[in-house]
Symmetry: none
Subunit: 81 residues, 4 copies
DNA sequence: CTGCCATTTTACCGGC
DNA sequence: GCCGGTAAAATGGCAG
């Protein structure tokens, strides 16, 4: 194995490239999201409102999970398995 | 004014030091928080549960503000001032 | 666009859900990235340094040296060596 | 500690509220820091570079050069010059 | 071009 | 003492 300064260069390069490929994928998805926003805007919806709605829905989900989590943790605390 | 490389060194130093002082203050407050947790733990409370509770309360607050915000934004959207 | 619960409402919901689906996809990809980092970590690479590497590869060389130079100037300004 | 709504509940609430108060304080300090940055920005300093400066001052010199060296090694490993 | 919001990175803390 | 996950800080991107 080629060693540069004690590092397996080939292996490192492979990891880096895998990550960069995944980051590209992510960027693609992000662009699709933007397109949906544009489309919505094009038929008259307000992007600001849409974002606010999305945020609110996320918060609701998070709240629900936190609540469930808290319940679990209480149950554990009083010895319920 | 002393100029080093075109930069007002004295002024920069002052800003940096002000920030560092504030960061120290923040660290102090953080330590007080830790002490409260320790104290609670000492009388038998479960830190994990406490954190969960705090998080839940924060989410509730955030949710409420988001909701109000959304309402505002809807009102604006339909021309209510 | 001011009708609520009608066609526009349905359409808005559709947009929102499309976006949420895409956001889930994005989250998946993000997790895959994390897994690659873990794997790299598992064979001994330093994740923090890998991140720096990725950032450097993203930055145009010009910007990179520009930033480095400015930092030197500031350091000189407050007498850091 | 399993009673709910009794002494323990009251005590728990007190701890939670003390922590929330301290967290508010922390947030205040954080805002003051932001203000100093704004002020600095207002007279022409580059905030990003100031942050780097602060970080450098925090890091022990040893750690600093260690990191820099490791980065060089990795760069060499994947053939970045 | 400015301010705001999301994302990403860094630091911290409790558990093991 | 490390490790994993959680919260804070910093960077980047978008809308107005």
């Amino acid at each position: 194995m080629t060693q540069v300064g004690g590092i397996a260069g080939e292996q490192l390069r492979t990891f880096i490239e895998r990550i960069e490929r995944l980051e590209d994928e992510k960027k693609d998805v992000q662009e699709q999201i933007k397109e949906v926003f544009s489309e919505a805007k094009g038929v008259g919806f307000d992007i600001r409102i849409m974002r606010q709605l999305l945020r609110l829905r996320r918060l609701r989900d998070a709240d629900r999970s936190e609540q469930e989590e808290l319940l679990e943790v209480y149950k554990a605390a009083i010895g319920m398995r």
